[in-house]
């Protein structure tokens, strides 16, 4: 037994209202840079729908994840190592920008510059790739809320598998939201695809990261990841992916997407697992056994034997305690209501989902009968073939039994808690009908419905008792680093090249520039880059406004480098 700790997430889909706050805050925190305009570490998809990038779940087309080869051994679906290397010069199985979307901005300047005219001037969309006018025809959430569903949602690869006769008329369809981040898999196929070995799994908490200094831009990880959650930064030429907000996790804070989730549907905690069992679990023959196999990899943190082995593996005691309080362990293994997304990709994903009961409840409600009665709900779960089969294709490789079991537990909780909320005594037969006792059901209700902050997020801080190693410590010279103080800005080999400056040095240069020049950003050295964070309001930063017309000779003055001083 080799015990390892994994930071994991569970999302309760019933509570997702599709507000995209997680996506927006994540984007603001991580990918609001050039080169990552189309990159969404976190995105929220409407299901049924094509997802982002379009039809990423069609692995016959994109060849992501793992598959068993003829000898029954686990192999990358895109092919063996040699084939992987031979296709390195033009990675063939990779979404093009059309499958994501061509990022754009608007020509806002024309709104203020346009001469007096009869019609209101418009800001036309400009491509951020070519700089030319473009017609916006697709984006990350083009089919949000089933927008254009009759034409668009039929291309959903999952829907195509579920039924040949799909109802997408609005009165008859169902809908839910699926927020997605990187799965931080136990058996990551992106890492396995990376020729440079730049993608690694952190030994302490299992977070999968890209070493930006080691990445050489071969793009194989984009092919390898079946969830298409590794993105290629087209400006720096490096792969980037969700980091599970590791700087926050290390100090005991939840990720940005979780922290800002208004529906409080995300849970973060530790899971202990046996690393020796991962390969065997990922290689089981029948896809429908993968869910049970992955559950079998997890270790019970309350088991003294596991605790001893964890100690031997160097996992700190407070981490084991955190694993015992972990909401993830509770939802996956105690209540058994969380399911992995696409276990058939055999990557052992570690972001799990509680499937939504709402499509079922909606149908029951529309028929006018009591939608909080267990027998009505159970009957509906058994008869509503399409939503249940659809959920099964997402979460259990098509096996409806585990999905039905989870939905029945959620339905039972709904009925049971109604009695309590109405001031009646709970009916013990209801929990018993789904194999739970009353106390467990109440605890589950507490975790799922009340979802207190410190119960949702049990994040033990990383052990880094090395305060002296902290950067920019007052006792050390902050300019004393390898290579000496740089001059800031981009290196000669394009955007983002050159060594990384410590924050203190970057600030130093910015301050120096501010004190020695009249403009905040010199147009020569920093190509019209305006940093409003450091702007003290002392003049107009170059590049912020169009050049002023000189009243004397009427010619325009490029740059306005004197900042308007006499």
């Amino acid at each position: 037994m080799r015990v390892m700790a994994q930071m994991a997430m569970v999302m309760n889909l019933d509570k997702c209202i599709g507000c995209h706050t997680c996506s927006v805050t994540c984007k603001q925190a991580w990918t609001n840079r050039t080169g990552t305009e189309y990159v969404w570490f976190n995105n929220v998809e409407t299901r049924p729908g094509q997802g982002y990038p379009r039809t990423y779940e069609d692995q016959e087309k994109w060849e992501g994840g793992w598959a068993l080869n003829k000898r029954g051994r686990l192999q990358l679906k895109a092919g063996g190592r040699l084939r992987n290397l031979l296709t390195i010069f033009a990675s063939p199985k990779q979404p093009s920008i059309d499958e994501y979307y061509e990022p754009w901005t608007y020509d806002y300047e024309s709104l203020t510059n346009a001469p007096l005219q009869e019609h209101t001037p418009v800001a036309r969309p400009k491509s951020l790739l070519s700089g030319k006018d473009m017609q916006v025809g697709w984006s990350a959430n083009w089919d949000d809320d089933l927008g254009g569903a009759p034409e668009l949602a039929t291309a959903d690869p999952i829907l195509q598998r579920v039924s040949d006769k799909v109802r997408l008329e609005f009165e008859q369809t169902f809908m839910f939201y699926l927020p997605r981040i990187c799965e931080h898999c136990l058996n990551p196929s992106c890492a396995a695809s990376c020729p440079s070995g730049a993608i690694y799994k952190r030994a302490e908490d299992g977070i999968v990261l890209v070493d930006q200094d080691a990445c050489r831009g071969w793009r194989k990880c984009v092919t390898g990841c079946p969830y298409k959650k590794v993105y290629f930064n087209h400006k720096t030429g490096k792969a980037e992916k969700c980091t599970f907000c590791f700087p926050r996790i290390e100090v005991g804070l939840p990720t940005v997407c979780s922290e800002t989730c208004v529906g409080r549907l995300r849970y973060i905690g530790l899971v202990l697992y046996d690393a020796d069992k991962v390969l065997a679990a990922a290689s089981v023959t029948d896809e429908k056994d993968l869910l049970a196999a992955q559950r079998g990899v997890f270790l019970d943190p309350d088991d003294p034997h596991v605790q001893r082995e964890a100690e031997r593996a160097g996992i700190p005691h407070d981490w084991v305690q955190a694993a015992q309080r972990s909401p993830i362990w509770a939802l996956i293994s105690t209540y058994e209501v969380a399911l992995p997304l696409h276990p058939e990709y055999r990557t052992m994903p570690m972001v799990w989902y509680i499937p939504p009961l709402s499509p079922v409840v909606d149908v029951v409600q529309e028929t006018g009968v009591d939608s909080e009665d267990t027998s009505n709900l159970f009957a509906a779960i058994d008869t509503l073939r399409i939503p249940v089969e659809y959920l099964a294709e997402l979460f259990t490789a098509g096996d409806t039994a585990p999905v039905t079991a989870v939905l029945k537990r959620l339905a039972a909780m709904r009925s049971y808690m109604r009695d309590l909320n109405m001031g009646r005594s709970g009916d013990p037969a209801i929990p018993a009908s789904v194999g739970m006792d009353e106390a467990t059901m109440y605890e589950m209700y507490r975790l799922l419905a009340l979802a207190k902050y410190d119960e949702r997020y049990v994040v033990p801080a990383a052990h880094a008792e090395q305060a002296h190693g902290l950067e920019e410590l007052a006792t050390e010279c902050s300019l004393d680093y390898d290579g000496g103080p740089g001059m800031g800005g981009s290196g000669p080999f394009g955007e983002g090249s050159g060594g990384q400056d410590p924050l203190a040095v970057e600030n130093f240069h910015m301050l120096q520039q501010r004190q020695t020049t009249d403009t905040v950003a010199e147009p020569e050295s920093r190509k019209a880059r305006v940093n409003l964070l450091n702007w003290d309001g002392k003049s107009a930063p170059a590049g912020m406004f169009p050049p002023k017309a000189d009243p004397d000779d009427g010619t325009s003055q490029p740059g306005a480098s004197d900042g308007g001083r006499p």
Partner: protein, 252 residues
């Protein structure tokens, strides 16, 4: 009889370029690990790249192996294993010709793509343009030497294995033969000179990605585990007993 110019061109320049090549790579690797990438533009355009890039890359790999054989292996060795001059010549010209043809077609397509596809052209740095120019000159001169010299026999008979190759090996063996290059046809001289310029530029261009050819992938375990480093910043922790010497910040 070697003139000063010959020594300058075929002794001094090679060593200067070699120094640029070696030291430049060391410097670039230390200074710019983050910028060390292929800078792929596949995201912008894939249809042309799908054919052009493998054509060029497999072609240039074959061309490289051909150069290793032609420049690196002395004529006496191939004779020792019983390979006649004609047989060697035939193998070199046919395989080299095919590889060179693939390389040239690939390169032309790649340059066409780079110029005509808007986003790709926008992502092209000044250094890229210089590199493409020099690389194209080297490849076209090399192709010219093969076609004109060996196939069409324009400039008369010239056995580069007794001329250029000996000079090339001499640079590394410190047995200098500038006179051999001085006597070589102009095509070979220009090809060699352009190639040396390319090697000098190499570490400062995207060509550095050649040295990250991920051969180790074939043997390494699929999933890489790494422990979090103890330090939190971007700078290695100083040992407790090191003297603290504040550096004078450099001024422009």
């Amino acid at each position: 009889m070697t003139s000063t110019l010959d020594v300058l061109l075929w002794v001094v320049v090679p060593y200067v370029c070699l120094a640029f090549f070696v030291l430049g790579h060391v410097w670039r690797y230390r200074y710019d690990k983050f910028g060390w990438t292929t800078r792929s533009t596949q995201l912008y355009e894939r249809r042309l790249l799908r054919w052009a890039s493998p054509l060029f890359h497999f072609g240039i790999l074959a061309v490289f192996l051909g150069h290793v054989m032609g420049l690196g292996i002395p004529e006496s060795w191939t004779e020792a294993v019983g390979m006649s001059d004609e047989a060697y010549h035939f193998v070199a010209v046919t395989i080299g010709g095919v590889a060179g043809f693939c390389t040239v077609v690939g390169l032309v397509l790649l340059i066409y793509r780079r110029r005509t596809v808007g986003p790709v052209f926008r992502a092209t740095t000044r250094m890229d343009k210089v590199m493409y120019l020099v690389l194209a000159v080297v490849i076209f001169l090399g192709m010219w030497n093969t076609v004109a010299g060996s196939v069409l026999n324009l400039g008369g008979d010239y056995d580069y294995r007794e001329g250029v190759s000996v000079w090339f090996r001499g640079i590394f063996l410190l047995q200098l033969h500038p006179e051999l290059m001085a006597d070589a046809p102009i095509g070979f001289q220009l090809h060699g000179m352009a190639a040396m310029l390319l090697f000098a530029l190499w570490p400062f261009t995207r060509l550095v990605h050649v040295f990250s050819a991920p051969v180790g992938y074939l043997w390494r375990p699929y999933v890489v585990y790494r422990a979090r480093p103890d330090r939190l910043g971007t700078r290695p922790p100083r040992r407790g007993w090191d003297r603290v010497e504040p550096q004078e910040p450099s001024r422009r």
